[in-house]
Amino acid sequence: MSAIDDLVTELAQLPGIGRKTAQRLTFYLLKQPAETAGRLAEAIRQVRERVTSCSACGTLTDVDPCAICTDPRRDAALLCVVEEASDVAAIERAGRFRGRYHVLGGRLSPLEGVGPEALHVDHLLARVANGDGVREVIIATNPSMEGEVTATYLQQTLKPTGVRVTRIARGLPVGGDLEYADGVTIAQALLARRDMSEAD
């Protein structure tokens, strides 16, 4: 296989990029000065080397703990629980939330063999119980069936701690991913959050 084919094949595996686009990108790069391709290659290498999960909240970061966890202006009493680190990015883009995050690393999915032990639930309980000063846990799992069940599970698991547990509003399209919602929708869903109770 030629070097051109190699790059086209690699690019075509990226989400949203078909074989045609991959070819266009490859030929574009070949027309640019060598440094352009060099910088791209280096940036890809660096992102793999430097980015890790924040040991406090689980989001992706260059420095550990992350800038959100160490920002003194952020409200440590508000903890927003999300499925994936990409959801943190989506809520940050909306720009309204001033608390901190907790990334679960997925959602309950019995059919895919994902149980509570596969999620960072013990770590969440420790953060709530360890006197981090958390007063409210906002559950912002996706409005999918499995995201809803995960919210139910977290509410039940957090209950003994006495912390206030709220769920973001259903302003988000049911079944839609947080990742795809626009900033205004996310901001409204956070603002209109409701207390979770047994009856919910």
Partner: protein, 266 residues
């Protein structure tokens, strides 16, 4: 290619491309089928929010005989079954039923299996809190029955001797042979021994017309274990049964391992 309209329940979805999903559907008219829902991941998709795990609706399938992947033309949502998400136990039971449909139901018309499946989902959603387990166990047994694995409970699985439900001795149950065995056929272990009350409860669980037996926690656990062993024995070769494991051990109730020291999240 034929356009078929059929009642259907979503059993599984996964991303197929940037904009499309593949859905595995339990359909009433065509059995379990896979279909591509083109554009389902676009923000203003005509499928809306309908293609969610366990949601039920009317599916329009462009069906190609001899193909494995069909095309979903439309899905008119009738029941999102969101009430199942408000209780992990109800949801867990529902995912076991979905798993059995995915692993054991044929890609061919079997309306009785579809009806048993949806009736069990309804029963799980409507069960009182202390009857969720019994509703789940019954739903699984009845679904197994219409899929051709009805256990022999009234008569000995080996020689047909009638078993008296009002007797007092424990009743032997052979998971491998698929039913109960009379005393002369099963003089000793290794068969499971059901106390007579558990046997009567098992009869009632397998009879849709009987009242749902009241099972306390240890008995509910025993019935979950029995039906789970039965499913594993007969279908375990179809790959892991992770929803069955989750439901049987009530994974959401046992506290997660306590590690108070925050470990490096990864």
């Amino acid at each position: 290619m034929a356009l078929v309209t059929t009642s259907a329940v979503v059993l599984q979805t996964y991303r197929y491309s940037e904009t499309s999903k593949v859905v595995r559907l339990a359909t009433r008219e065509l059995g379990v089928q896979s279909a591509i829902a083109k554009g389902a991941l676009r923000p203003k998709s005509r499928f809306g929010a309908g293609l969610e795990l366990l949601s039920e609706g009317s599916a329009q399938l462009y069906f190609r005989e001899a193909r494995e992947l069909h095309t979903l033309g439309a899905f008119d949502l009738a029941n999102l079954r969101r009430d199942l998400a408000a209780d992990v136990g109800r949801f867990a039971g529902a995912t076991v039923l979905a798993e059995i449909m995915l692993k054991m139901a044929p890609p061919a018309p079997l309306p009785a299996a579809y009806d048993a499946f949806t009736a069990a989902l309804d029963a799980l959603a409507g069960a009182s809190p202390d009857a969720i387990d019994a509703a789940g166990v019954r739903g699984i047994w009845l679904l197994l029955g219409v899929l051709g694995f009805e256990p022999s409970l009234g008569t000995c699985v080996r020689d047909g001797t009638a078993i008296d439900p009002d007797g007092t001795d424990p009743v032997s149950f052979s998971v491998a042979e698929g039913g109960v065995a009379c005393p002369s056929c099963a003089p000793a272990p290794p068969l499971a021994r059901l106390p007579r009350q558990a046997y009567r409860d098992l009869l009632a669980l397998n009879d849709a017309a009987a009242g749902l037996p009241r099972l306390d926690a240890p008995h509910a656990a025993a019935h979950r274990r029995l039906v789970a062993r039965f499913v594993r024995h007969h279908f375990g070769e179809a790959g892991p049964l992770s929803a069955l494991d989750f439901w049987e051990r009530r994974a959401w109730v046992s506290p997660p391992p306590s590690t108070p020291v925050p470990s490096a999240a990864s």
